[in-house]
């Protein structure tokens, strides 16, 4: 037995370890948010404690060797997305109606920000070397400076300890362009589309539609 107790409860450590597979951020970054325990509590509250434990079991199994949405049953898949959304934005999202019904949740299926500091700890901002709007300001005139390129897939995988055997060490810009070209066919539905009104929460925004050559979308 370790004579010095770990500063973070074991269940939180295990939650963070699994969250690396969901978020693509290393354990250091996830612990550094200071939000891990609150997110675990929030997810348990939203899904139900025993149901969330079941989800964690299924997730652990699906992570070997590499996690993909198809490796989870639909409701677990939606929970995985919700937990990831929580890490990325600090908000619990609106779930797919089918998953909400399947979970027999008693609370309304609506998006809410967990706490003001959860918002400022959202991971989405650091994906593009940004900072949360309204917090952690980078300083006068910094907006004039050319932003650094976001990390490559191989760099992210290495940082998370999730390298694949075929990963190249230093992908060139050409490689990055190739990756982008591969996605072109389904890029639009990975991007957000217009909100029909300002009150549509970010988790209910529809995906973008493919563009027609004339410029007015189909």
């Amino acid at each position: 037995m370790n004579p010095v107790p770990h500063p973070v409860p074991g269940e939180v450590v295990r939650f963070v370890d699994l969250s690396v597979h969901l978020t693509g951020f290393p354990v250091f970054d996830l612990h550094a948010t200071g939000m891990a325990e609150m997110y675990l509590d929030t997810a348990r509250q939203q899904v139900g404690r025993s149901r969330f434990d079941e989800f964690l079991k299924a997730l652990r199994k699906a992570c070997a060797p590499r996690l993909g949405p198809a490796k989870l049953e639909p409701t677990d898949r939606e929970i995985a997305r919700a937990v990831t959304y929580l890490w990325y934005t600090g908000a619990w999202p609106r779930l797919a109606v089918a998953a909400h019904a399947d979970l027999r949740r008693e609370m309304a299926n609506r998006e809410f920000v967990v706490t003001p500091s959860a918002y400022t700890e959202g991971l989405v901002w650091s994906t593009f070397h940004g900072h949360p709007a309204g917090a952690k300001p980078p300083g006068y005139g910094t907006w004039s400076i050319e932003p650094a390129a976001p990390p490559s897939l191989a760099e992210i995988e290495r940082e998370c300890g999730l390298e694949r055997k075929d990963a190249t060490d230093h992908p060139t810009e050409e490689h990055r362009q190739d990756e982008r070209a591969d996605e072109a066919a389904f890029a639009a539905h990975r991007l957000p589309g217009p909100r029909v009104a300002r009150d549509v929460p970010p988790s209910a925004v529809p995906t973008a539609r493919a563009q027609e050559p004339e410029g007015n979308p189909a």
């Binding site: 690396v20 597979h21 693509g24 951020f25 996690l67 949405p69 198809a70 409701t75 939606e78 995985a80 997305r81 959304y85 990325y88 779930l95 797919a96 109606v97 089918a98 998953a99 706490t115 003001p116 918002y119 989405v124 994906t127 593009f128 709007a133 309204g134 917090a135 300001p137 980078p138 300083g139 006068y140 005139g141 910094t142 907006w143 400076i145 650094a148 390129a149 976001p150 990390p151 490559s152 897939l153 992210i156 998370c160 639009a188 990975r190 991007l191 957000p192 217009p194 909100r195 029909v196 009104a197 300002r198 009150d199 929460p201 970010p202 925004v205 995906t207 973008a208 563009q211 007015n216």
Partner: protein, 638 residues
């Protein structure tokens, strides 16, 4: 002094001037009259609290915890003095919309603009963009045959623009504004050097010199041009004949907020308070100005002949309830300085200034159409002030008579306004939320794939916010129906009837077409999408020239007590004094006969400073010297 309803009640029952509304106009006029020794009562309907640092931090937290970070999201709901909110509107499946808030709306199209009833007014959530209007904007009726002319020229306003730029604390590049044609003084410099341009501005500057032809065959050459901003940057030592300028920082925390640090949340709140607000003016108000919050003016009281004698108001202690107490106060001069819609509402309920039948009419905004695209590489969105430059090339002259002119803002905040990005990027990349039928989506990204995809997509977001001129049209109007629509305190709610006329629609259409050409020149992939979503037309949707288009509100409500030379077709004169009542002023954007394509706060502030001079002259003519008057006031009370 500032006091809430829990503090001391007004110390007297008669003032030289009572001003209704503690936003930019009301605060500036109170400051001027107070400095001249007049006893002024400034009544604010909404809540205070933000003038202390802890109150300000509470607003910052309120903003951070809001799901929809809209202009009013940093400020709490107030039952006693409700504000309209952009979240009140929803589209209906078959077309049309519902309005479920403070405004009652019955027009063909929704009025999508909000304002804030709180200490500082909409000057709390504004962006801080302060372009002057162009000489071309003041006489569109005569020059182009649409809209209404001002009884003032750009030249008349120029000294007041300079004064307003000092009061608001403006950072800008005067040489660039001279080139644009809105500053004529060859020696003028702004109090502070221009806010640094964003990397996105530089990205767009690559196509400077490109020629773009709009659908009306109007060809313009593009020039990325900076926007003057009421935001602290580096003081210009050459300002004011080398006297320089000392920036005013945060209210409630000394030596803070004296320079913008790039929080990138100007709307709705600048956490550093480097963005200017009326609280700065209020902090310097002299003792002879009394500022009271939680005082909702219900009507202006008629006096003898055509004069008014004061106002009736309700004081409340709890913004969550409708419990309030009726009071009244007399004044030699009454100044309405609420929002354009609030001023109109008060005039209508008070049954004043009726001669022209123009009160409440000519409601305007800048219908703003959004265009968005992905650049080829990272451009650095979500950094710095909301926008630091734009394309000003379609604002003046040319075929302005055929289509409304427009100002193209280059957004520094990615696709946030159009799509709810970057949060909605997470939704779409994950495949969260189910399909239209509610089923969990089969595919999506997780882990390293997700992080890489988001970094790539979000960093390339470009958005243009194109503000189109809307001219005065008497059919766009504010009315009241006290028998049917009242708020919790019993005050009539504004009923809005709003539409876009063909000239404005042509402007929106031309703006959309121009945005496509700009994106093509930038080699960016367009994602602009105005079509219905799952059969629901987007809010602000209309079809024009066989094209789906949408507009947003800009927060630039104007025109409801329009200014003119004659009492038979306008409400106020060039000093914003009602033609009908010699001691009743209605100030603010409501007085503007046209708003061009300029964010109106600067012009509004210039008008307020000009009015303050006239009010001083009126008071001087009406009154004995201040000292004598003061003794009389005390006796009266005893």
């Amino acid at each position: 002094m500032t006091a809430a309803a829990t503090g001391p009640e007004t110390r007297r029952d008669h003032y030289d001037a009572v001003i209704v509304g503690a936003g930019w106009s009301g605060s500036l006029i109170a400051g001027r009259l107070g400095g001249q020794g007049w006893r002024v009562l400034l009544l604010e309907a909404g809540e205070g609290g933000t003038e202390s640092w802890s109150g300000h931090l509470d607003s910052v937290s309120t903003y951070r915890s809001a799901v929809a970070k809209v202009p009013n999201s940093a400020y709490r709901h107030n039952t006693a003095a409700p504000s309209p909110d952009v979240l009140d509107l929803s589209p209906k499946k078959g077309g049309g919309y519902t309005a479920d808030g403070y405004f009652v709306q019955d027009g063909p199209l929704p009025y999508r603009t909000d304002y804030l009833r709180a200490l500082g007014g909409s000057g709390m959530h504004w962006l801080g963009a302060v372009p002057r209007m162009h000489a071309d904007d003041f006489a569109t009726g005569t020059t182009y045959g649409y809209g209404r002319d001002w009884p003032l020229t750009a030249k008349d306003l120029e000294p007041y623009y300079e004064e307003a730029e000092r009061e608001l604390g403006v950072a800008g590049d005067a040489a660039e504004q001279r080139k644009l044609g809105v500053v004529s003084d060859p020696d003028y410099v702004y109090p502070m050097h221009a806010i640094p341009r964003s990397h996105i501005d530089e990205h767009c500057r690559r196509i400077d010199g490109a020629e773009i032809t709009d659908p009306m065959e109007d060809t313009r050459t593009l020039h990325v041009t900076g926007i003057p901003q009421a935001r602290n940057s580096t003081p210009n030592p050459a300002y004011d004949r080398k006297k320089g300028y000392r920036p005013k920082g945060a209210v409630g925390l000394p030596n803070y907020g004296e320079r913008c640090v790039g929080n990138a949340s100007c709307v709705p709140i600048c956490p550093a308070q480097a963005k200017s607000s009326p609280l700065r003016v209020q902090a310097d108000l002299p003792e002879n100005v009394t500022l009271l919050t939680r005082r909702v003016v219900t009507r202006v009281l008629r006096g003898q002949d055509t004069r008014v004698r004061g106002v009736e108001y309700r004081a409340y202690n709890d913004p969550a309830s409708s419990v309030s107490e009726a009071r009244s106060v007399r004044a030699d001069i009454v100044v309405l300085a609420g929002h354009a819609i609030e001023n109109a509402r008060l005039l209508l309920f008070s049954e004043l200034a009726k001669t022209s039948d123009q009160v409440g009419r000519n409601l305007m905004d800048h219908p703003t159409t959004l265009a968005w695209a992905l650049a080829e590489r990272s451009v650095g969105p979500y950094r710095g002030p909301g926008h630091t430059s734009g394309w000003e090339d379609f604002r003046f002259h040319g075929k302005r008579g055929e289509r409304a002119p427009f100002r193209i803002e280059i957004s520094n905040w990615g696709w946030s306004w159009a799509t709810g990005a970057p949060m909605s990027n997470v939704t779409s990349a994950l495949g969260l939320g189910g399909d239209a039928g509610g089923t969990v989506k089969p595919d999506g990204l997780l882990g390293p794939d997700l992080r890489r995809k988001l970094g790539d997509d979000i960093g390339r977001q470009l958005q243009l916010q194109i503000a189109v001129e809307q001219s005065a049209n008497p059919k766009n109007r504010v009315t009241i129906d006290p028998s049917r629509h009242r708020d919790a305190l019993g005050n009539p709610r504004p009923i809005l009837t709003y539409d876009l006329d063909p000239h404005t629609r042509d402007g929106v259409y031309a703006a959309y077409r121009v945005s496509e050409k700009i994106f093509a020149a930038l080699e960016a992939t367009p994602y602009t999408d105005h079509k219905p979503v799952h059969g629901v037309p987007q809010l602000g949707h209309f079809r024009h020239r066989e094209t789906d288009l949408t507009y947003q509100g800009a927060g630039h409500g104007a025109g409801t007590h329009i200014m003119g030379e004659h009492a038979n077709d306008s409400v106020v004169d060039s000093y914003q004094r009602t033609h009908d009542h010699p001691n009743l002023y209605a100030v603010g954007c409501g007085s503007m006969p046209s708003i061009g394509t300029s964010n109106p706060t600067l012009t509004m502030s210039a008008l307020a400073l000009r009015s303050a001079e006239q009010i001083h002259r009126d008071l001087a003519a009406l009154n004995q010297p201040v000292v004598v008057r003061s003794a009389a006031g005390e006796k009266e009370k005893a």
